[in-house]
Amino acid sequence: MTSRIPTDLLGGSWYIFQRYSPLFWYGVRNTLIISLTATVIGLFIGLLVASVKTSKISPKDSFFAKGVKKFFWLLSSIYIEGFRGTPMIVQAVFLYHGLRPYLQWTPLSAGIVIVSVNTGAYMAEIIRAGIQSIDDGQYEAARSLGMSTWTTNRKIIFPQAIRNAFPAIGNEFVVNIKDTSVLNVIGVTELYFQSASVAGIVFRFRDTFFVTAVIYLFLTFTITRILRVIELKMDSPAGFGLASSSMPNSFSFLKKKGGQS
């Protein structure tokens, strides 16, 4: 009487991968959906919060405007410190169960919101560094052309800040692919959760999680390469002009590729 599963690491892992690949792929799908969506939403949260954090209070502002700016500055600081200073696994349990009575959300939607808000806090600091790397002279030039603060940010500051911070932004995506694994604690059926399920069927932890490790490594390695290619394209002459044009045109190299085919 023997189990059907080979006893050695590679044989056992291969058997488990072949037999239970639908469960693994379902987990991969959810892991990618959550990490990609949350990185994009987190980037927008980061832009918003970073622009609040970097907006300067000028002596010419009215008393009311000063108050509003200070209030939002304080709010942004609390948000950033709160979410960077606590582990995501704690945020997940607290927010999911705490808000469930009011929101009736599913683990998947809760997972996307939690990772987005968590990423937003890190993105805010990444974007802030990107914004601060831009010379003050550009603000002055924009102001002398009659641009509003929002137009200046949108057309001049953000495209350059995003470009300067691109490696760090891409890194957040890779980090999110790995960190979504903590969402298994609220029952999100991402890759780690699915792996634990497979381990529960086959009662073989070492072999199951070897498969999981290889899948995670494949995902992060592939995405790191893709991000590197995008980064090189941005640095190439075709990527120049980024600072002077609006966002969609700044990715003109992507459009060019599409146009050739």
Binding site: S3, F44, G200
Partner: protein
């Protein structure tokens, strides 16, 4: 920029629309781990007895599913299965994500403060699982496990039984049965606490493990209600409780044992 904004708005709207719609008139939602064979497990193929897991991939089968199907039939409702981690089951019940827990859960005084229980739907006894090359293999009483490293599942009464062994090394409890089995296989623990049907499943899948059972009076001292499992429902659902009890009363002990034997033989990855 606008396209990005639109796309993110759209995805947020999608998220908002994600909340599940359960038709409580015609459906009954059961929550379980699908990770506690032979009471419940996950499989990728459909079968006559397995039920598709709602909102995920795969099917759930096992003794609990057979019982939940019988309850749903008795109520005249369609059975919806949700896969939820053990720690999240009671929260899911109170937030009305599920209507009942049929997950090999034991009726305890502590749990009864938060949920209400039906009459038992299975009775079992407690055993220990050891490696088959272990010196504890030949033990016939709990006293012979003196000095052994023993582990049990966190948040269960199994864990409260461990101190009954004299001079026991009570290992930090773990969250799931596969993890417990792994701890014994790796030698981190000498023995794990389990109910008999679950122990049979684990030993079937791990030939290097064996069951040590005890004659009457030499094993764990348990209250009768501790070694039974019941259906958990919300305290407010008194009518549902009456209905479930009436259905359970119609299922004899012979039928229950037969269903458990069937569940044990249906398990995926069992020995050939």
């Amino acid at each position: 920029m606008n396209k990005f904004l639109l796309a993110s708005m759209a995805s947020l709207l999608l998220l908002a629309g994600c909340s599940s719609n359960i038709d409580s008139e015609n459906q009954i939602v059961v929550g379980l781990e699908c990770d506690y064979a032979p009471f419940n497990w996950t499989q990728i193929e459909s079968s006559d007895t397995a039920v598709a897991i709602s909102g995920s991939i795969g099917y759930c089968d096992g003794y609990d599913i057979t019982m939940a199907t019988a309850i749903a039939e008795g109520l005249g409702k369609e059975l919806i299965v949700k896969k939820i981690a053990w720690e999240g089951l009671e929260a899911a019940l109170s937030s009305k994500e599920i209507d009942m827990i049929v997950a090999g859960m034991t009726d305890t005084a502590e749990r009864r403060e938060r949920v209400s229980f039906s009459d038992p739907y299975y009775a079992s006894d407690m055993v220990l699982i050891v490696r088959n090359d272990s010196p504890f293999m030949s033990a016939t009483s709990l006293a012979q496990f003196s000095g052994a490293k023993v582990v049990a599942q966190r948040g269960t009464f199994h864990n409260d039984l461990v101190p009954q062994i004299p001079q026991v090394v009570h290992m930090t409890p773990l969250t799931s049965f596969p993890l417990l089995a792994n701890a014994v296989i790796s030698g981190e623990s000498d023995a794990m606490v389990s109910e008999r049907p679950v122990a049979i499943s684990i030993v079937n899948m791990n030939p290097q493990l064996a069951i040590v059972d005890f004659a009457e009076g030499f094993g764990f001292e348990t209250d009768v209600e501790e070694t039974t499992v019941s259906v958990a429902i919300r305290q407010s659902d008194t009518e549902l409780r009456t209905q479930i009890n009436a259905i359970l009363a119609g299922i004899s002990d012979e039928t229950r044992n037969l269903w458990m034997a069937d569940a044990l033989s249906r398990q995926p990855e069992g020995i050939e």
